[in-house]
């Protein structure tokens, strides 16, 4: 996993609640067998009209936000399907941070395991950031994981993150390597504690 330490970039907002993973990446793009190359399909049905041309009304097609790497959005982002293609497509498109007032559980975990940082902030602050991002000059933010601070446009807000997850992101540690340090405990469990079943 690519470590995440600090990121500075331009922010873009999609100010809707409950954006599900079917919107982030529609199902027709889940048939491939690799992890990369999903960026071009991100928000496909919102980004492109049925004839395949970009929808000028969708914010990611606004040249002003072309280089954005921080996405600000509404509550319960990433709900629905467990498809890890959702964080893969966001990362591949160029996003490194998602700021929202809340995330769906599976999406949240999937993001952390890929070095995409989900930052939960209180709703009024998210609303303020959304407003700032739509101003003429736009919004540039810095997200510092070490200090757990989002800053920019005169604001500096602290965010919470589980210490273990923070450590994993900072080091880019592979969970499997970490777990295999407890190989002996797994074997002991298998010897002593397995329930009654015969598959």
């Amino acid at each position: 996993m690519t470590p995440f330490v600090k990121h500075t970039g331009r922010a873009v907002a999609i100010g809707l609640a409950n954006i599900d993973t079917d919107q982030i990446i529609p199902k027709q793009f889940l048939k491939r067998t690799d992890r990369s190359g999903y960026g071009e399909f991100l928000f496909f049905n919102w980004r492109f009209l049925p004839d395949g041309s970009p929808d000028p009304g969708f914010v990611l097609n606004d040249p002003k936000y072309a280089t954005s790497s921080i996405l600000i959005t509404g509550a319960n982002f990433g709900c629905g399907s467990s498809r890890e293609h959702a964080p893969w497509s966001l990362l591949d498109y160029g996003f490194r941070v998602i700021i929202a007032s809340g995330f769906a559980d599976i999406f949240f975990d999937n993001s952390l395991k890929n070095g995409l940082l989900p930052v939960s902030l209180p709703e009024p602050i998210v609303d303020e950031l959304i407003k700032l991002s739509t101003s003429d000059e736009g919004l540039k933010l810095s997200v510092d994981l070490e200090d757990q601070i989002v800053s920019g446009a005169g604001l500096a807000v602290r965010f919470e993150i589980d210490p273990f997850r923070k450590e994993s992101l900072l080091s880019g540690m592979d969970d499997i390597d970490f777990t295999l340090r407890h190989e002996a405990a797994i074997s002991t469990f298998e010897r002593d504690s397995m329930p009654i079943y015969r598959f």
Binding site: G15, L16, A17, N18, D20, D22, Q23, P26, K27, Q28, L30, K31, R32, T33, D34, R35, N45, P50, G74, A75, N76, C79, G80, S81, S82, R83, E84, G102, A104, D105, I106, D109, N110, K113, N114, E123, D162, P163, F164, D175, I176, F178, T179, L180, H182, A185, I186, F189, E190, S193, M194, P195, I196, Y197, R198, F199
Partner: protein
């Protein structure tokens, strides 16, 4: 004073230390063609093996055709996924319920039907509707592909304990009101993120009275309330369902297993983080009108007026997408398609419910309706019971097993603007096809809508014999 969730959690702890997630043992890992290929690639590139192929089972369900299964199928990319799963299963020694097997079906139908899903187990699958298996008193939840790889390699998962939400449903479900309506009502009440960070335990008389099929429908849609897992304590209904199934314990092991399973109850003084009370007697058939499963009303109601405040943007976008007006009555909304299927509602009891409505009728002209059984075994059983005949005579298409138009990865897709009464679990924009409009309903409501040509209240249905 421990809950069912506490008990299963504690029994599966492999390792714990302060400030770290707990390492939890996984008893059963189900995999399918769509979310596993990258996990196997990861194993190979790190020179790792599958630790417990004997606790891992595979099937194909998500992207396969439900009509004309001559191989290879025309969708080359989907076909490659199936072939990749076959190669991975053979390389790593995993049992695969392939397209030519009678067991083949939707992964969350297959596990219980084969008796793999058992009380007290920890069960994972790279699919959010893994919550289904919680109906047996298992701790079952969906995971991403990186986690699939982790389970393949270690048979464990690092997990942080969730909150425990109790949904207590007392009273009796009235005639015509099903488990599907019950779970849509729960989602409506607590919202699509009401269960975020929680494991839900469903309790109460109305839950106890449900069949296993009904309990699976309820637990299945826990994820639509934001909860990764839903569970119901096992009882005689559970044991009766399981006894004699291929992978269920046999003989002496069966007796020992049932003794243990009986202990899997929340203690009377168990403490939950939150409790929601619902009176089953007040429920009616539910229908979703919007693009989130929480956007629902009873069939006798109308599309709601915009709610003032925060979610107004989502509300307006949803109504526009759905092509509906505020105050429009739900009954009478004209449909183009009906879909009876999915891991929510494609089990034998669901098909019986729908067939009871369809018997002696014809699908309305201009409506395309299809029934997609949850597994090939259910398909066979429905044919033996005469249900298939009822559907075919009524003009429903009778398909092979798979996820089909629940997520529309294969050819079963809604066209732009087409409106569908669907027994599936998600009414997201484009879920069943770009521009498609989904109304989530129960199997009997979907069958009634297919015949009437518009949404109707199935409680007033004139059944024919």
């Amino acid at each position: 004073m421990r809950t069912l969730y506490d008990k299963i959690w504690e029994r599966h702890i492999v390792h714990r230390e302060p400030g770290r997630p707990t390492l939890l043992y996984i008893d059963l890992h189900l995999i399918h063609e769509v979310t596993s290929p990258q996990a196997f690639d990861g194993l190979r590139s790190n020179g790792r093996r599958v630790r417990r192929p004997d606790l891992t089972f595979a099937t194909v369900d998500h992207a396969i055709p439900t009509l004309n299964r001559s191989l290879p199928f025309p969708d080359k990319v989907a076909w490659n996924q199936v072939e990749t799963l076959r190669r991975n299963c053979s390389e790593f020694g995993i049992r695969l319920f392939d397209l030519d097997r009678i067991e083949q079906g939707i992964v969350h139908v297959l596990g219980p039907e084969q008796g793999m899903t058992q009380p007290g187990l920890t069960i994972v699958c790279g699919d959010s509707h893994t919550s289904t298996h919680g109906a047996f008193g298992a701790l079952a939840f969906g995971i991403g592909t990186t986690e699939v790889e982790h389970v393949l390699a270690t048979q464990t998962l690092p997990q942080t304990k969730a909150d425990n939400l109790r949904v207590n449903v007392e009273g009796d479900l009235p005639f015509g009101v099903t488990a599907k309506d019950l779970i849509l009502a729960v989602i409506n009440r607590i919202g699509t993120n009401g269960g975020t960070g929680c494991v839900i335990e469903y309790t109460g008389k109305a839950i106890r009275s449900l069949s296993m099929e009904g309990r699976m429908t309820v637990c299945n849609m826990s994820i639509e309330a934001g909860a990764r897992a839903g569970m119901i304590a096992p009882d005689d209904t559970t044991f009766d369902y399981l006894e004699g199934r291929p992978f269920a314990p046999k003989g002496e092991n069966w007796e020992r297993a049932v003794d243990h399973w009986r202990s899997l109850q929340s203690d009377p003084d168990a403490v939950y983080d939150r409790t929601v009370e619902i009176d089953a007697g007040e429920l009616a058939p539910f229908v979703t009108w919007g693009t989130s499963p929480e956007m629902s009303v009873m069939v006798t109601e109308a599309v709601p007026e915009p709610a003032m405040g925060r979610d107004e943007a989502s509300y307006i976008k949803a109504l526009e997408y759905m092509g509906l007006e505020p105050s429009q009555p739900i009954e009478g909304i004209v449909i183009d398609r009906a879909f009876i299927g999915s891991c929510t509602n494609a089990r034998i009891e669901d098909l019986r419910d729908a067939a009871r409505v369809a018997r002696g009728y014809r699908v309305a002209s201009g409506v395309n309706a299809m029934v997609v059984p949850g597994s090939m075994q259910i398909k066979l059983q429905a044919e033996q019971e005469g249900l298939a005949e009822i559907f075919v005579e009524a003009g429903f298409e009778w398909r092979d097993a798979g996820c089909s138009m629940c997520l529309a990865m294969n050819d079963d897709v809604l066209g732009e603007g087409e409106r569908c009464a669907s027994t599936s679990n998600r009414n997201f924009e484009g879920r069943q096809g770009r521009g498609g409009r989904t109304h989530l309903v129960s199997p009997s409501m979907a069958a009634a809508a297919a015949i009437a040509g518009h949404l109707v209240d199935v409680r007033n249905w004139k059944f024919r014999s």
